[in-house]
């Protein structure tokens, strides 16, 4: 018997699941990404490098800036271009904006209704209006950062190889400094709320992240040393899904907020570090549902870090100079931490500046195996115990814990 679940709600994009039951027992679960394929790597081929980040941004709306930055970094590496600290800090500020916008959307509007037993945040707002408004305030601030650094709230084109179209003004930096400080109290409250979630889903045993907090030159894992994705990550196609599945050294693994905290706690800001230590034991169990708690701690990290960066830039002042690009043949990989985990853009560019090879691996594709295993575990636990409605609810919550970005996951290619 196959139980076909309807499409998931309160996630980004279209996906569903099937539970295979034999002799009264759950035997298998298939996570089906039904969002149509979008072939972004094919779109990139033959394109001039200058236009590529703007096209890649369209892979995802919730994390467009992560795609722009990963794309720009891969292009700069292919051309052997290093950008100065000022440009790096501004990009980090944009990525922080994206993290705030994405985590706040996910935690307050998509997950919190589960905590309080509502079908959505709008209905939840009648009783918990304050909480919804707090979430919206953090989200709006994140979007403000994306708008100013990235060019607009969604799909801005301001992040360019070598720099920016437009640099922020002193007034804008002052606004970042002021608002990030003011919102910290709200984020700390969120940590308390999401710390109350039960453990569910699979217990992850392997974690992968970039070697810096929001981007890196290479990847790191719970094992020794840094590595390139080509060395240890493998992908395979499935007949029942438009997204591929990945393995790390042949094993399932987790990317995202929980992986970042567990692998890179040393780089956290003071308050975020204290909160991490307070909940370390819980987080270290590796249950995927604790990804939500990890996201809440990252709200605190992001606001503290945005404040630091704004202060640094205000003290130093901005030059606002782009680094000139000299086109040459080359190859480069950009590793960025999108809000929901590691994002990889890998290109080869020819002597006239056109992309001739393109590979993009998104966090949802990397988490796909772990997501399916988590569903299997919850289906096994709940089948026969819970009524159908409660079982479906629990399975939806399990998928939601990953904050999957289904649109992003459906165009993985190796050419």
């Amino acid at each position: 018997m196959i139980i076909e679940l309807r499409e998931f709600t309160r996630v980004e994009g279209n996906g569903k699941a099937e539970i295979v039951v034999e002799d009264g027992e759950v035997k298998n679960v298939r996570l089906k990404i039904v969002e149509g394929p979008r072939f972004f790597e094919l779109l990139t081929l033959g394109r001039h490098y200058y236009d590529v980040p703007d096209l890649e941004a369209r892979i995802c709306a919730i994390c467009y800036l992560s795609h722009s930055v990963a794309s720009v970094m891969a292009i700069e590496r292919a051309f052997g271009v290093d950008v100065p600290e000022e440009i790096q800090l501004l990009r980090e500020l944009g990525l922080i904006g994206e993290l705030l916008e994405s985590h706040a959307l996910h935690l307050y509007l998509l997950v919190a209704p589960d905590v309080f037993g509502y079908p959505d945040a709008i209905r939840m707002a009648t009783k918990h209006g304050e909480l919804v408004r707090e979430g919206l305030a953090i989200k709006a601030f994140g979007n403000r950062l994306r708008e100013i650094i990235g060019g607009r709230e969604i799909h801005g084109i301001n992040v360019k190889p070598g720099g920016f179209g437009r640099y922020p003004t002193v007034e804008e930096l002052e606004l970042f400094e002021r608002e990030s400080g003011a919102l910290l109290k709200l984020a700390r409250r969120a940590v308390r709320l999401f710390a109350s979630l039960e453990p569910y889903g699979e217990k992850a045993e392997h974690f992968v992240a970039t070697d810096g907090y929001l981007w890196g030159d290479e990847l790191v894992s719970d094992e020794e040393g840094t590595f390139h994705y080509t060395e240890r990550i493998e992908e395979r196609s499935l007949v029942y899904s438009f997204a591929k599945q990945s393995r790390y050294n042949g094993e399932p693994f987790l990317v995202g907020a929980l992986a970042r905290l567990l692998l890179k706690a040393d780089s956290l800001t003071p308050m975020a570090k204290r909160l991490f230590e307070e909940h370390r034991e819980k987080l270290a169990t590796g249950y995927v549902s604790y990804n939500n708690l990890a996201q809440a701690i990252e709200l605190v990290y992001s606001l503290e870090r945005a404040n630091e960066i704004a202060k640094t830039l205000l003290d130093k002042g901005l030059d606002g100079e782009n680094i000139p690009i000299e086109v040459r043949e080359g190859e480069g990989i950009g590793y960025v931490e999108a809000p929901r985990g590691v994002l990889i853009h890998h290109y080869r560019i020819d002597g006239s500046g056109n992309v001739v090879y393109s590979n993009i691996i998104t966090p949802t594709a990397l988490n796909h195996t772990m997501m399916e295993l988590s569903l299997l575990r919850e289906a096994k636990r709940g089948y026969g115990e819970l009524d159908e409605g409660s079982l479906i609810q629990r399975l939806e919550e399990t998928v939601r814990a990953f904050d999957p970005c289904i649109s992003c996951s459906v165009h993985i290619v190796k050419l």
Partner: protein
């Protein structure tokens, strides 16, 4: 009290931005909810199951049999259907990927089979009649707010009929095409974004699709040629969001 209109948001294959942008209305989303009740919006609510909608918003391209079935379902059950965003109105970037679906699947998934029944991405407007089309990648959220308010008040919303250049001039931005020689599609692209990209000092990438009527794509083509951009580059640029044949 007036009965609220039933509003649905259906997402076909896209980046999620056009649905997300509705949530980015923040406080004004609550203003809209004075007139509308959300009956279907799977990114935002777990409720669904209505069989009639007063207004339905459709985002994304038709890229699979699932999308096509959902689109027909939405059309059959709604009074007023809006194709929202450039994927729905023109196909956007994903519809500009060349080659047949079988070839693309083979290249990407390594298999000629099509078990998930994918289709070549096409805009919604190629399959069903729509009551209103609002382009933009993403569309401007002020615009959809106004359109929904107009409909609630019984007024037919107005479609913009001027190029991006008008908004650029109103904002007094420097012309990046003339002053910086950047490839800017502003002169032939639907306005309504408040010249977002020119605000960053960069050229319009044409994400709202080509403005029909009195625009002159041939002359834009000549200008870009004179600036030193080659044919292949210009043609690709023209076709990216709207599969436009110049």
């Amino acid at each position: 009290m007036m009965e609220k209109l039933k509003l649905a948001v259906f997402e076909l294959t896209d980046c999620g931005g056009c649905a997300l942008n509705i949530l980015f209305l923040y406080e004004r989303l609550f203003d809209l909810l004075e007139f509308y009740e959300i009956s279907e919006f799977h990114m935002a609510t777990s409720l669904s199951g209505e069989n009639h909608y007063d207004v339905a918003l459709i985002t994304g391209t038709v890229s699979s049999q699932r999308d096509l079935a959902l689109l027909k379902e939405a059309r059959n059950h709604s009074d007023y259907l809006i194709a929202l965003g450039t994927c729905a109105t023109h196909g956007s970037v994903q519809a500009s990927v060349e080659g047949s679906i079988r070839k693309k699947l083979e290249k990407v998934y390594g298999d000629k089979g099509n078990p998930m029944r994918a289709l070549d991405s096409k805009p919604v407007v190629e399959y069903v009649a729509v009551d209103f089309a609002l382009p933009g990648c993403p569309y401007d959220k002020e615009e959809i707010y106004q359109v929904l308010i107009d409909i609630a008040k019984g007024v037919e919303p107005v479609r913009k009929d001027y190029p991006v250049c008008i908004e650029c001039k109103l904002n007094e931005y420097e012309c990046v095409l003339v002053k910086k020689n950047l490839p800017c599609l502003g002169p032939i692209t639907y306005g309504g974004c408040n010249a977002a990209c020119i605000r960053s000092g960069l050229g319009c990438i044409g994400c709202r699709g080509p403005l029909p009527g009195e625009v002159n794509p041939a002359s834009e083509y000549e200008i870009l040629k004179d600036l030193g951009y080659d044919d292949d580059y210009i043609i690709r640029k023209f076709k990216t969001f709207a599969r436009w044949e110049p």
